[in-house]
């Protein structure tokens, strides 16, 4: 009887790792899909207004953003302020900002440059109007009011 010893009776067989690659791939895809590259950290709070007639913003590379909203840190006040790139700015800085955005693009693409206004909904129109006037003067006519999509009411 001793001849027929059970082989490896006590040793636990290793957990199959054949599906591990699948899981890793899955995670990889998940993170690839959900991460959005944010090139500037927001200093102002943006709660966009909602609208039904929204269009998708095509060609992300041809969009420059202007953020307007109340500062996140209260020591900068509660009034809406303008953020360009990574710092607070004033209306007078906008021509320079648009100029540098144009410089960064191809000659042929400069006409197609869109300025996306990401504005908090509590902001008063005064500052937005000033920004629009500046954009008109420098010839950046294509603008996009960033809004969230609302389900159309019937």
């Amino acid at each position: 009887m001793a001849k027929f010893k059970k082989k490896g009776g006590k040793a636990t067989p290793g957990i199959s790792t054949s599906s591990l690659p699948d899981i890793i791939f899955m995670l990889l895809f998940f993170f690839m899909v959900t991460t959005t590259m944010r090139d500037s950290t927001l200093l102002v709070q943006i709660k966009p207004p909602q609208a039904t007639e929204v269009q998708k913003l095509e060609k992300k590379s041809l969009v420059s953003f202007i953020f307007i909203g109340p500062p996140l840190k209260k020591q900068f006040g509660t009034e809406s302020r303008i953020q360009l790139n990574d710092s607070f700015a004033t209306v007078e800085d906008i021509p320079e900002f648009i100029e540098s955005e144009r410089e960064a693009r191809d000659e042929a693409d400069r006409k197609l440059l869109t300025t996306s206004l990401k504005v908090d909904k509590e902001t008063k129109m005064g500052v937005v109007t000033d920004v629009k006037q500046q954009l008109r003067e420098i010839g950046a006519f294509k603008i996009n009011y960033s809004t969230a999509k609302k389900i159309a009411r019937k």
Binding site: I15, D22, T114, D120, T123, S146, K149
Partner: protein
């Protein structure tokens, strides 16, 4: 003697993985940038006086400091804005160079589109949008949204009539252009000024 531990069945692992994958795919929302696209007018020439516009061609939409609305000089509510604008801009007979008394005039020059059946005269009507510096951005966007909706509905109507589908469903560039020419986005934003009011 210990019972033999069977190897864990890994056959269903793939199913679990897929389940998770699908779950995440469904629940994550990618933040797509959406918005209302508009074109700003070039700055006005310095030496020009007020351009004369005939009263019947303009529908004034004013938004006051406290987000109240005036449509054509009368206080009104935002729920009526879409209909008023649509009725104002509606071009009942696009092949006729004239329009009824209570409607805006037609443009002097027709545009020719064979796919719309020859010459068409777009309406000269313009929405004049004016807001105070104290108007909230939210209200402004709501107004812009209603204006955009009115124009979209008119375009849908025309597109449905000639091509049998909605404007947004058109794929032929010629057709899209024709509709865009026939019903232009005629929104003029006044030079900023204090309009005050409450």
């Amino acid at each position: 003697m210990a019972r033999q531990v069977n190897e864990i069945n890994a056959g269903s692992m793939a199913d679990i993985a897929f389940l998770l994958l699908i779950f995440f795919l469904v629940t994550t929302t990618m933040d797509v940038d959406t918005g209302i696209t508009r074109k700003l007018p070039p700055p006005p020439p310095k030496d020009i006086d007020d351009i004369k516009v005939i009263k019947r061609n303009v529908l004034k939409v004013w938004v006051s400091k406290s987000d109240r609305l005036m449509i054509g000089g009368k206080p009104d509510d935002i729920v009526n804005l879409r209909n008023e604008v649509r009725e104002f801009l509606r071009n009942d007979d696009i092949h006729s160079p004239t329009s009824p008394e209570n409607k805006p005039e037609k443009k002097k020059e027709p545009v020719n589109f064979q796919i719309l059946g020859g010459d068409i005269w777009p309406s000269k009507g313009v929405i004049s949008l004016k807001n105070d510096r104290g108007t909230s951005y939210d209200m402004y966007i709501q107004v812009q949204n209603e204006l955009a909706a009115a124009i979209r509905e008119l375009r849908d109507e025309l597109s449905q009539k000639y091509f049998g589908m909605k404007f947004s469903q058109l794929t032929d560039n010629n057709k899209i252009k024709a509709i865009q020419k026939a019903i232009p986005i005629a929104i003029s934003e006044a030079e900023p000024a204090e309009i005050g009011g409450n």
